[in-house]
């Protein structure tokens, strides 16, 4: 999807995102102290060691960055928002919501403000386990 189109779409729901942020709708929000960033802002790249694991995030090619087609229903790219996250070099599947928040395949029902926050949440969830491409057999 062209970047301008996506930005316009995101801008259209900025009001909704702000309303959600003000309402503080989930305990998780309070727990993590997350705030909803400006939806139109591109996320910042990062590279750090968090709880002993290297987490990296950076803009990626807009399509095909998942490769392998391991998630079947596959639209190739786009749902990562053109941003890739890795934990110890293994890709963490992430997705951007319309309100600018993020989720990952290991926290798929809880939103986070930034890709860095979603990466840190995944490290906590993994408890040291390695990410693997989806095992289908």
């Amino acid at each position: 999807m062209p970047e301008l189109t996506r930005r316009r779409a995101l801008g259209a729901v900025a009001g909704a995102a702000a309303a959600v942020a003000v309402a503080g709708t989930t305990a998780a929000a309070a727990r993590t102290g997350r705030t909803v960033s400006a939806p139109s802002a591109e996320p910042a790249s990062f590279d750090e060691v968090f709880q002993g694991r290297r987490i990296q995030g950076a803009p990626s090619e807009a399509s095909g960055h998942h490769g392998g087609g391991h998630h079947g229903g596959g639209h190739g790219g786009g749902h990562g928002g053109g941003f890739a996250v890795h934990i110890d070099g293994k890709e963490l599947h992430v997705m951007r919501n319309a309100d600018g928040t993020w989720i990952s395949v290991v926290n798929h029902y809880e939103t986070f403000a930034t890709p860095r926050a979603v990466a840190r949440a995944a490290v906590a969830e993994l408890q040291g386990a390695a990410l693997v491409p989806l095992v289908t057999t």
Binding site: T25, T26, G73, H79, H93, V106, H108, E125, T136
Partner: protein, 275 residues
């Protein structure tokens, strides 16, 4: 006729037969095909792209069809079995009989989240987690971690009061009943329950935990309750919506069923109490 019952009302025999049918689907490989399908959709459904199973109006009819298919597989093993539903507004603690060793087993141990009792505990040898996103092949849970609370009946009622089924932009930013029930907006019902259970239930491969079916059977019942409360409301959008399943468009992966076909659950099953 299939009657879906509240899990809290099941007899010991009904629990045993339900568990045995689950274990048989796991053993013969059919169970994991449902996990694979669900994950494919949850990773493929996007707010600004094509969306069918989640974050879209078809969240409810898609899961209704998905549960019917799963229930039919269970009944092929044991015709007496129906999907129970978990009313998490009532059975809202880890002490519920739902989590007893004769049914789903309890929460995970603190060290690694591993479920250690019940028929789905890894040590019982019948529930390897094969469709997974990380190296761990044992069922995990972290019920109510961090003091999280399940939704209350008052919160459910506040969502059931919403007369409009769904609204543009037909995704996680929408107002209306569907998105509030799904939980991307507002008090958060469906999503919050996945997070409350933790473990695989909080991930894209959530059907690895058998409680997935009982959670979604209750979400499905809430849709039926909403229909009863709002007889003049129906599924939206009606037609012509890009990337979204309209009322009479077919849904992947079946391609032979539409939301319109799924509106009347009584063609397939009824509930033990008025929906």
């Amino acid at each position: 006729m299939t009657v879906r019952k509240n899990q809290a009302q099941l007899t010991a025999t009904e629990k045993r037969r339900f568990v045995d049918a689950l274990l048989e689907l796991k053993r013969n490989g059919q169970y994991d095909t449902f996990v694979t399908t669900h994950n494919a959709f949850i990773m493929g459904d996007t707010d600004n792209g094509e969306r069918v199973g989640h974050r879209s109006p078809s969240f409810l009819p898609w899961h209704r069809r998905f549960l019917i298919q799963f229930e039919q597989q269970l009944q092929a093993v044991d015709p007496s079995v129906a999907l129970p539903y978990w009313d998490w507004t009532a059975d809202r603690t880890a002490a519920s009989s739902l989590w007893a060793a004769d049914f789903l087993g309890g929460t995970g141990r603190s060290r690694d989240g591993r479920v250690t009792d019940g028929p789905f505990a890894f040590a019982a040898g019948k529930w390897p987690v094969s469709i997974r996103v990380d190296g761990r092949d044992y069922l995990r849970r972290d019920l109510g971690a961090g003091g999280r609370q399940l939704p209350t009946r008052a919160e459910v009622d506040s969502v059931l009061a919403m007369a409009t089924y769904d609204a543009p932009p037909w995704n996680s930013a929408s107002d209306g009943f569907r998105n509030h029930l799904e939980g991307w907006r507002g008090v958060n019902l469906h999503n919050r329950v996945h997070v409350w259970v933790g473990g695989q239930m909080a991930t894209g491969v959530s059907p690895n935990d058998p409680v997935f079916w009982m959670h979604h059977a209750f979400i499905d019942k809430l849709w039926a309750e909403w229909q009863t409360r709002h007889p003049d409301s129906t599924y939206l959008p009606a037609a012509g919506t890009r990337n979204v399943v309209d009322l009479r468009e077919t849904m992947r992966p079946w391609n032979d069923v539409t939301p319109a076909d799924m509106l009347d659950h009584t063609r397939h099953y009824t509930f033990d109490t008025a929906a």
